[in-house]
């Protein structure tokens, strides 16, 4: 499915929007998770379901243990979100084209209103970053006042995932257009990157060598892209540091 030259490409920047995450300074404080939930109308699912692997986090912070006490170490916190793959495994398997690649923005879209809930995409996502609306989770009044009007409120039976805050992308583009200019790097950013107290997350145009993401990527050479051996061409680069 993936041609060799494509795999080679995955070492270069393929996409349009991309992210750089510095695990060395990520403190795992969960600010990004909260920010994401607030920005994207993500529902909370309560104790029972969240304990059964049904939490709806679009971004989760992974950490593992190395060694035994007293030489035990916590591995660098690893924020895991949709990698917005250039050649995503979730896309071809959706029978309804609800998970499509946006040619305009080079993102993996999740079209909620087209989703019929076969959950094939979630199975096929090697990063396991898609979350499914198992129920119509209640958000009693007046919590719904906080809903972000720019983001659809999902209902049961629909798959959802990180969108790289596409609503912010569109807003920025719209503003830029109305002012007759191009979108400037750093003019806007995703909710997670905006909140991160350590500025461990940086978002921007990976196809623009001058953007901050590209510069950072060059600055720390040793970036890692997760599971790129699968040829998914992920657009999120991780720095382990240390």
């Amino acid at each position: 499915m993936i041609r060799p030259e494509e795999i080679k490409m995955s070492t270069e920047e393929t996409g349009k929007w991309g992210m750089v995450i510095d695990q060395d300074i990520c403190t795992g404080c969960q600010a990004c998770v909260a920010a994401c939930a607030m920005e994207n109308n993500i529902t909370f699912v309560g104790e029972k379901d969240s304990g059964y692997g049904r939490s709806m986090h679009w971004i989760r912070i992974e950490r593992f243990w190395e060694g035994e006490y007293p030489e035990v170490k916590m591995t660098p916190n690893q924020p895991m979100l949709c990698q917005q793959c250039g050649s995503a495994t979730c896309e071809p398997v959706c029978p309804a084209f609800a998970t499509v690649h946006s040619q305009a923005e080079q993102l993996n879209l999740q079209v909620y209103n087209r989703c019929v809930g076969t959950r094939y995409c979630a199975n096929n996502c090697p990063y396991q970053v898609r979350s499914f609306n198992w129920r119509d989770y209640k958000r009693p009044e007046p919590l719904s006042n906080q809903f972000n009007p720019d983001v659809t409120v999902r209902r049961r039976g629909v798959m959802e995932k990180c969108t790289f805050c596409i609503q912010r992308i569109h807003k920025a583009q719209d503003t830029a257009k109305s002012e007759g200019r191009e979108v400037v790097d750093g003019e806007f950013t995703t909710a997670c990157a905006q909140a991160c107290p350590a500025s461990a997350i940086t978002f921007g145009r990976v196809d623009d060598p001058e953007s901050l993401v590209s510069q950072l990527a060059r600055a720390h050479g040793h970036g890692v892209k997760h599971l790129e051996e699968l040829g998914t061409l992920p657009n999120v680069t991780y720095f382990k540091g240390g």
Partner: protein, 184 residues
């Protein structure tokens, strides 16, 4: 016994019964569809035709359209700005609700007719900027009293226009037919 049923249905009375049943079903369906397509009741039987007739621009009352996603409904203050200078306001039955609401400081509850589902992210500004006129989607208001939708805003309606606008421009076509342009 099935056979007996068939036999009964075969004779005239049975046929009539079948006919009636079918008719009822059909009319019910027709009523249902018709009901959902009517313009809903508004607090004020607002005569668009009159206002447009006076030469008031759409954007005067719906300025949001040029500035952002929502065109918006004018504030009572805006209505009152003119109407409190019009003698008719005091007398007219039509305007009673407005008067009442301004005096009691309780907002009027309008029912939007040009509505897209909440999974569609529609932005007026872009469309106005692209040179679209209000009537392209909302019909000719100068002929309407209470606002009605000329057509249901379904995806087909949007895409037809998007494709027409894009024409041969491939880049534009990609942008205008990208799912992520409206759905997120």
């Amino acid at each position: 016994m099935i056979k007996r049923l068939f036999d009964w249905l075969k004779q005239p009375l049975g046929l009539i019964a079948v006919g009636i049943a079918l008719l009822t079903l059909f009319s019910l369906a027709a009523y249902g569809i018709n009901y959902t397509q009517q313009a809903p009741a508004q607090p004020v039987q607002f005569p668009h035709t009159t206002h447009v007739g006076f030469g008031i621009q759409c954007l005067y009352c719906h300025p949001g359209a040029a500035k952002g996603p929502a065109a918006g409904i004018p504030t009572e203050a805006k209505c009152w700005g003119c109407h409190n200078q019009i003698a008719k306001t005091e007398t007219s039955l039509l305007l009673a609700p407005l008067k009442q609401s301004v005096e009691s400081r309780t907002p009027l509850e309008w029912v939007p007719v040009a509505q897209v589902p909440d999974f569609v992210q529609f932005n007026h500004r872009a469309h106005i900027a692209a040179g679209q006129n209000c009537e392209n989607c909302h019909g000719d208001m100068s002929k309407l009293t209470v606002a009605e939708n000329p057509q249901v805003f379904n995806m087909g309606f949007c895409l037809a226009c998007h494709k027409k606008v894009a024409g041969e421009n491939h880049e534009l076509l990609v942008k205008l037919t990208d799912c992520g342009t409206c759905h997120y």
